[in-house]
Structure formats: C-alpha cells, structure tokens
C-alpha cells in the first residue's frame, strides 16, 4: 500500500489543495491536489475507506487549527473544497454500499437567510466524516425541510442561520419538524445561536463550529 500517497491526500485536505491547477496554497503551486491523488490512489487499488480516513485526519487537523484561531473561514472553506474533490471520486462507492455512510444529514440555511458559509462548512466537514449529506441550500422554507425529513426517514436535520433576524424562522422550522416527526433529531448552529437559544427553540443540539456538529452527529448515531 502506498502510505505516502494516502498521507499526501490528508495533507492536501488540511492545506486546501484541490488540484494541480489551483494556485492555492501558495507553497503547493504546481503540485497535484486531492483530486489527482485520489484518482491515483483508487487506480492503485487503495480502498476508499482508507482514503476517507486520511481525509478525516486532514479535516480534523484543520478543524482543530480553526478552533485554536490559527486558521480562519477561508482556509476551512478551501479544505472543504479539497474534500469535495475527493468525495466526487468516492461517491460511486457510497452508492454501491462499498463504503457505508454513518447516516443521513439534511442541512439548510433557514428561510430569509442567504448566508451559506456556516451551512457549507458543516455540510462539507460532516460529509467528509462519512455521512450522507442532503444539502437543501439557503433560504429553505419549513415545508422543504419537512418534505426532506419525510423522504429520508431517520435522518438528522441541521439548521443554519447567520442573521439574528432569521432566528424566528429557525424556531418555527424546529417546531414544525418536531410536531410532524417528534423523533427526528435537530441540531442548530450559526453566529446568533447559543446553547440557550437552541434549548428555547427545542432543538436537540447546538454546535458552534463544524467539528462540534460532527461530534454531535457521531454521538447521536452511536446511541
């Protein structure tokens, strides 16, 4: 097994190196990124689960640096973009069941809010951690969340908001999901949120960053 190759994929994730053409990061210009290296790894017969593990390690390292304020949202977005390049190659393995997803995670930014940073970060990091993510996008009306829960029994729902002003819409969405599907687990996050706010709107969890969301999901899936 080409361990150096797997290690390098993890480094590409951590540093946000998507492909050879990408000018980011500056110290990896001209080098192959997660896209080319994943293709190579699969062609060498390296199992998708090992590639996914390397990705998780890379995401965990960048996530920890983010938590320590050593890197910021743009760097995390680039890591997630690099992760996406890997997932594009691994998708067929999820579809055939060669790699099993930990569960389904439905996520969206609530109605009236077009901010996608938090939602995208969580979406990409959660996906990189082995979950199947159904991303409903931004400005998602309550009915769309409800329809998605109906279509994906057993899913966990993540609601994102950046604006204080859209928190009321978030609370309405949590309430409606809980009314129709009382057993569905809902996690909320976003700049104006707090544990207290999450409790008030009867959400099951709150995460202040993508790593927190992953930890919550993994804990719920184990129970």
């Amino acid at each position: 097994m080409n361990e150096a190759l797997i290690t390098q994929i993890g480094i590409c994730i951590e540093k946000g190196k998507v492909n050879k053409a990408s000018p980011y990061p500056g110290d990896m210009i001209g080098q192959e990124g997660s896209d080319e290296l994943t293709r190579q790894a699969l062609s060498e017969g390296i199992g998708p689960d090992l590639i996914l593990q390397a990705c998780n390690s890379g995401m965990q390292r960048i996530g920890e640096r983010f938590s320590r304020n050593e890197v910021f949202v743009p760097e995390l977005l680039m890591a997630a973009k690099s992760m996406n390049a890997v997932m594009a190659h691994l998708k067929p393995y999820f579809q055939t069941g060669t790699v099993k997803a930990k569960g389904k995670f439905v996520i969206g930014t609530v109605a009236g809010d077009l901010h996608d940073i938090g939602k995208n970060l969580v979406s990409m990091v959660v996906e990189g951690n082995g979950w199947e993510v159904i991303d409903l996008g931004v400005d998602v009306k309550t009915a769309k969340f409800v329809d998605s829960v109906k279509a994906n029994p057993g899913c966990i729902v993540g609601l994102s908001a950046l604006l204080t002003t859209t928190m009321a819409n978030m609370a309405k969405t949590v309430q409606e999901i809980k009314n129709q599907f009382p057993d569905t687990v809902v996690i909320v996050g976003g700049a104006p949120l707090s544990t207290k706010a999450a409790e008030q709107m009867k959400a099951d969890g709150y995460a202040s960053d993508p790593q927190g969301a992953v930890a919550f999901l993994n804990k719920v899936s184990r129970n």
């Binding site: 000018p23 743009p74 680039m78 973009k81 077009l114 940073i117 204080t164 859209t166 928190m167 706010a197």
Partner: protein
C-alpha cells in the same frame, strides 16, 4: 440625533468620561417595525409609518443615543439592489437580496452603479429628503452617511462561500470586485453627504471582516476600509458583530473611532486591542439578555459589565450588535436604569 446627543457622542469619542455612561443603540428594521406594532413591509413602504416609528423611539427613550438615527434603509437589499440584485420582500419577514454574480468570470462585466439613479438608493435618499423638515422640527438632524461595507456587499453579490473561495483561488478577481464596490460606496457616501450638509459621520456595517485571518484582512479588507473612511468627518463608525479579534487592532489605522462589536470579546480586551483609541458601543448579549432576559437578569448583566470595566472612558453602553427583534420597552427601560444606577 439632537445637538446635545451629538456633543455627548463627540465628548465620549474624545475621551471625556461621562457619568452616567451614555446609552446608545443601533436601531433599524429588525427591531423598529415589530416594536412599533406594524408589518415590516409597511415600515419599508410607508414613509409616514417609518417616521412615526422612529419618532416614537426617540420620544420614548430621550436619553438614548440612537445610531445612526433615522436610518432610511431597505434591510440587506439596499446596496446590492444598485448592482441589479433581485430583492425579495416577504410581507412580514426581513427582505434579502439574491446574488447576481454566478461565476468570477462575470466580475469584469459588472456594471458600475450610479447611486443617484440605480436600485433602491434614490428611494432611500428621497425618503430622508421628504421627511427632513419633520426630523429637524423634532430637534434632530441627519448625522450619518450609511452603507454596508465592501466585503458584506461582495458576499451578497457572489454568495459568501463563493466570494471567500474566490479570494483564495483568484485574488485578482476578488480585488477587482472590491474596487468596483468601493468606488460605488464612495459615490454613495458622497451623495449622502452632499445631500445633507448636517452629516458629520460615516457608518459602515460589515460582518464578513470577522471571518478572515490577518493576511486576508490586510489584503482584502484594510485598504478598502481605509479608503472609505478617509473622509473629513468627526465620527467614523464601524459595526461588525462577527469575530473581531483579528481586525480590532487595525481599527485606529482605518480611522474608525466608534465601534459596535459582538458580545464575545470583553470590552477590556477590546480596549487593549484597539490601543484605547476607539470608542466602544457594547456589549451585553443582544438576544439572550437584552431581548429575552428577565429584568433581573438584564440588570445583573448590565451591572456586571459596568463593574468589569477597568476604564469607563470611551464607552457607550449598548448590546453587542444592533438592537435585535423583540426587545421590549420594559427591557430597554431596565437597561437604562441599570446603567444609571451603576
């Protein structure tokens, strides 16, 4: 803002300690319509209701410095609309603008807006012109030229994820966009200042600053904010209630002398970060305490905040961020009382 309130504001900014510490709040469409008891769409579409709501706020709380004061705005739609952004105004929800740039290749073709004629800006300006006599007969003046900041507008035009990744992948394109937006904002601020000679302050709101590290901020934030605040006015006011530890040390260099922040960084720490050169407007938690806290909780939080201050100069008591929805008259009154009693 009355002449007396303006003088108080300038005194605080100049380092004079006022006892009790002045109270100030940013008020706009997230709070005013609901507090006044009207629909958000009515607040935006009726200048009479807009004026009455604002007048009620200043009359009910005469000791509060409301910033920017009589803010003519259409929520997040105001500035992006001039670039052709589709704007959505649900009847009783907050409006928002849709993105207009679907690929960084479209940045070069983006038409430079004219604030005199484009989007909602003529309506913003004309509303103020129409009600200016009534504002002045109430003893107030239009003091601030106001706009969302360049990073905030860029993220509306492109989508925040797309804009931030463009910064990293195609920095030249991101800078082209920021230059266009900054030119537009300078025009817009100048137009407001020409229209209302009483303006002696600039107020910019931008929370995308908070998502950047120092290197990105120095490239994509600092030069543009410096350019925008490089005007001969007495008050240079910035709002960023996202994380601010990275950008705060640069506020004096930008020229900012009044800053409204979130509630996550203590005021004592912010004083150090800004070398005590910036007046701080903050920062009790806006939603958990000011809006939904009990009178006792609010009073305690306010008292704790004041007692924690190592230096009471260059402070205006407020919440961390703008006034959030559903803050009651009772809670505002309790906040003012708590400040007076401390």
């Amino acid at each position: 803002m009355t002449d007396k309130q303006w003088e108080t504001l300038l005194k605080v900014i100049n380092g004079e300690t006022i006892d009790p510490i002045p109270v100030g709040f940013i008020i706009d469409s997230p709070w005013l319509p609901n507090w006044y008891g009207i629909k958000i769409i009515d607040y935006f579409s009726s200048e009479e209701l807009w004026l009455k709501a604002n007048l009620k706020a200043i009359n009910d709380f005469p000791e509060v410095i409301f910033l920017p004061g009589f803010w003519s705005e259409f929520g997040m739609c105001t500035e992006p609309s001039a670039f052709g952004a589709r704007t959505t105004f649900p009847p009783d929800e907050f409006p928002f603008a849709h993105k207009v740039i679907n690929s960084s290749d479209e940045i070069d073709d983006l038409v430079q807006p004219d604030p005199r004629n484009d989007g909602l800006l003529p309506f913003v300006l004309n509303r103020l012109k129409l009600v200016q006599p009534k504002i002045e007969s109430a003893g107030h003046k239009i003091r601030f030229a106001v706009a969302r900041g360049p990073l905030n507008i860029a993220s509306y035009l492109m989508g925040s994820t797309e804009f931030l990744t463009t910064m990293m992948m195609q920095p030249d394109k991101a800078e082209t966009l920021l230059k266009k937006i900054t030119t537009y904002l300078k025009d817009w601020l100048h137009l407001q200042m020409e229209t209302f000679p009483s303006i002696d302050g600039i107020f910019l709101l931008d929370d995308i600053i908070g998502f950047m590290g120092e290197a990105e901020f120095k490239t994509f934030g600092l030069p543009y904010f410096k350019e925008l605040f490089n005007e001969n006015v007495s008050v240079k006011f910035l709002h960023n209630d996202a994380p601010c530890r990275v950008s705060a040390p640069f506020l004096p260099e930008i020229g900012v002398n009044l800053f409204n922040m979130g509630f996550d960084v203590p005021l004592n720490e912010l004083k150090k970060l800004t070398q005590n050169k910036v007046t701080l407007l903050g920062n009790i938690p806006p939603r958990d305490v000011l809006a939904s806290g009990s009178i006792e909780q609010l009073t305690q939080a306010t008292s704790d905040l004041i007692n924690s201050l190592e230096d009471k100069s260059k402070i205006i008591m407020s919440c961390g961020g703008g006034m959030p929805p559903e803050v009651s008259t009772e809670n505002i009154t309790a906040f003012i009382k708590a400040v007076k009693n401390n």
